[in-house]
């Protein structure tokens, strides 16, 4: 299992468009993918869950990946967070 903490760095936060992209990226992989913050733990392949995260700029999320392709999945998704959802 891979667990990483990421910070939301784009100004609009984790809004609808990046939420959709994250779910699309995650769905390509077999491994389980969870996002947690402040005691809320949601399945990263669930769009309604990711939308509920309410993560504004500056908030920190813990991402966990568990499964055979966890390495590739984590690389792609963490990179997407680090790029500020391509909005920087």
């Amino acid at each position: 299992m891979i667990e990483v903490t990421v910070k939301i760095i784009n100004q609009a936060g984790l809004h609808t468009r990046p939420a959709a992209t994250i779910v699309k990226l995650a769905s390509k992989y077999q491994c389980d993918f969870f996002i947690s913050r402040d005691g809320l733990n949601i399945n990263g392949k669930s769009i309604i869950g990711v939308m509920t995260m309410a993560a504004a700029m500056g908030s920190e999320l813990t991402l966990s990946f568990d499964g055979p392709d966890e390495k590739a999945a984590s690389q792609e998704i963490i990179d997407y967070f680090n790029r500020g959802f391509d909005e920087l």
């Binding site: 936060g13 392949k45 309604i48 939308m51």
Partner: protein, 588 residues
């Protein structure tokens, strides 16, 4: 001709809201109320049939939403239409669907009951958030929930309305907005929602005038009422008088006429007939407006009001956060300049401060507050410096009233530079520093102040307020707020002349710059640049292109000799007529 100000001051039938999408419409209303869904929570016997029904309802909903998505893509930019993609994805959400199905099996209740219960749980979470956009999102999800339930109940969607109505509703989901727009809807009015609600964003993309956040509009407006929606100013006039209708019809026609041929000015410089260029810059409140700045052909950002970040972020942003915001803006606008104004907090813009002043406008605001809060000020200065690597950032101090304030600020800036050097951080060593001239003391001392800095920017709103000692928000005296007062004209002339003696450029970034009537006068007074709302820039370019700089100078010269405001206004209006310039006053 009456001004908007006057019309609204006298109107007793106005409803105030937020101007969400520009334009004026006059028409009959259609009260858009969602039928309240009755949720049947009775037990079921045939689980397989219930699951089949659920699947069919999903399929049906998906078909509907795909259609909405397609219309959206056709009518809006792809990125905007992406709002719907997420909604379509909800119908495929593995976690949500699995939960619903297993609950149908376990609880043996109607699928509509389970769907309602399950999706509402997420909505509750969203509503608990402090972020206003999350509340808007809960509203979007309402649409999905109701759509599935309606399809489970095999009811038909009623979105057909008579053509050409103004839709009045408590809220509007993105899908409502899109579908209603197909019935040639003229305008939108909603009780709830802000500038960033999806309905507002969509109205703007579709070019349908909208006023949102109009509180109890739906309780005041009845179906079939005639209303005027002013999407420029954020007002609704309910059952308008003949006079109001004539006024707004004229404005509307004028706006249509004015928009013709505007596009061609996008790529052009703001040149007078005799070849004098005046730089037109954009005022930016929130960083999201940058797209508009780029598409309106501005020569840069003349005023970025950083205090709005506090609203966007909800607290004082850290240095790193600010660096990101400023760098982003600077790169987007590059190679044009970005003028960042230090936080102008205080006065009417009290937010995170918990002290009360008897006279806030004359109290702790602008540079005074920053110098009193060195940590806050330093964080911002360091962020501006760190973001200045493209070398197109300029920094501006608000409400300077003494030379000492400039000296102190420069001292802090030097200190920050020193710190950054020792931390091996890059910054623009020649970062330009300017001040806002918005109080009489700075205007009088313009030359000495100009000597200390790289540029001056006149903030006409505050300057007029302090010169005339008038609070324009106070109805009893707001008539004294006169843009064309001889005092204002002479003061601007003095500031420009004094700054020129020090070879420093002067810009004007108040509302006066956006008043097209004032353009020839400001041009003639010798301002180097004007900063205004992005939406006004193309109009201003067109007017400037039909002015002769020589004549504008004569006009300004003449206006400097007048004693009364009315003389100046008459003279300027005559200038437009004599030179057959088509103009608008306060259209935007």
């Amino acid at each position: 001709m009456r001004s908007f100000k006057k019309i609204y001051k006298e109107a007793e039938n106005k409803i105030a809201g937020i101007a969400a999408a520009p334009g004026i419409v006059i028409g009959k209303t259609y009260l858009f109320t969602k039928e309240k869904l009755e949720i049947n929570d009775s037990p079921i016997t045939d689980i397989d049939e219930a699951k089949r029904n659920f699947e069919e309802a999903l399929k049906k909903s998906k078909k509907e939403l795909d259609k909405v998505f397609a219309i959206a893509k056709e009518k809006m930019e792809e990125t905007r239409a992406a709002i719907f993609e997420a909604q379509v994805m909800i119908l495929d959400d593995p976690v949500l669907l699995k939960n619903i199905e297993s609950r149908i099996e376990k609880e043996c209740k109607q699928p509509e009951y389970i769907v309602n219960d399950e999706i509402s749980k997420y909505q509750e979470l969203m509503k608990k958030s402090n972020e206003s956009y999350m509340k808007d999102r809960a509203n979007d999800i309402e649409d999905i929930k109701n759509r599935i339930i309606r399809n489970l109940q095999k009811k038909r969607w009623q979105s057909k309305i008579s053509e050409g109505m103004i839709v009045v509703s408590d809220t509007l989901t993105p899908a409502d907005t899109i579908l209603l727009s197909r019935s040639n809807v003229q305008g939108f009015v909603t009780d709830h929602g802000g500038l960033t609600s999806h309905a507002a964003i969509i109205s703007r993309s579709l070019n349908i005038p909208a006023v949102v956040g109009a509180h109890n509009a739906t309780t005041k407006i009845k179906e079939g009422d005639t209303i005027i929606v002013d999407g420029f100013h954020g007002y609704i006039l309910l059952n308008p008088s003949e006079e109001q209708i004539i006024f707004f019809k004229e404005k509307k026609q004028r706006h249509v006429d004015l928009q013709k041929g505007l596009e061609e000015y996008k790529e052009k410089k703001a040149l007078t007939k005799d070849g004098k260029e005046i730089k037109l810059l954009a005022n930016v409140d929130v960083s999201g407006e940058i797209d508009m700045v780029i598409t309106c052909g501005a020569k840069g950002i003349g005023l970025y009001r950083t205090e709005q970040i506090l609203d966007e972020v909800g607290e004082y942003p850290s240095e790193d956060e600010q660096v990101r915001i400023y760098s982003n803006l600077s790169s987007r606008i590059y190679p044009e300049p970005l003028t960042i104004r230090a936080y102008d907090i205080g006065g009417d813009k009290f937010r995170f401060l918990d002290f009360q002043e008897p006279n806030p406008f004359l109290g702790m605001r602008g540079i005074r507050l920053l110098l009193n809060n060195p940590v806050l000020f330093k964080t911002q200065i360091r962020a501006v410096l760190r973001a200045s690597q493209n070398k197109n950032i300029m920094f501006m101090l608000p409400m300077v009233s003494t030379i000492n304030e400039i000296h102190q600020s420069k001292g802090i800036i030097e200190q920050c530079k020193k710190e950054l050097r020792s931390e091996k951080m890059e910054y623009d060593k020649n970062l330009k520093l300017g001040i806002m001239v918005e109080v009489p003391s700075a205007a009088v001392m313009a030359r000495e102040f100009a000597r200390e800095v790289d540029f001056l920017s006149i903030g006409s709103n505050d300057l007029i307020q302090y010169m005339m000692a008038v609070d324009r928000g106070n109805d009893l005296v707001s008539d004294l707020y006169q843009e064309f007062s001889p005092v204002v004209v002479r003061t601007i002339s003095h500031i420009v002349a004094e700054a020129k003696k020090e070879h420093k450029p002067v810009s004007l970034c108040g509302e006066m710059a956006a008043d097209t009537l004032a353009l020839p006068l400001l041009l003639g007074l010798g301002l180097d640049s004007l900063s205004m709302s992005p939406a006004t820039i193309l109009y201003a370019k067109r007017i400037i292109s039909s002015i002769e700089f020589k004549k504008a100078k004569d006009l300004a010269e003449e206006c400097l000799s007048y004693t009364h405001e009315v003389e100046i206004v008459d003279r300027v209006e005559r200038f437009f007529k004599d030179n057959s310039i088509f103009r608008t006053r306060n259209i935007l």
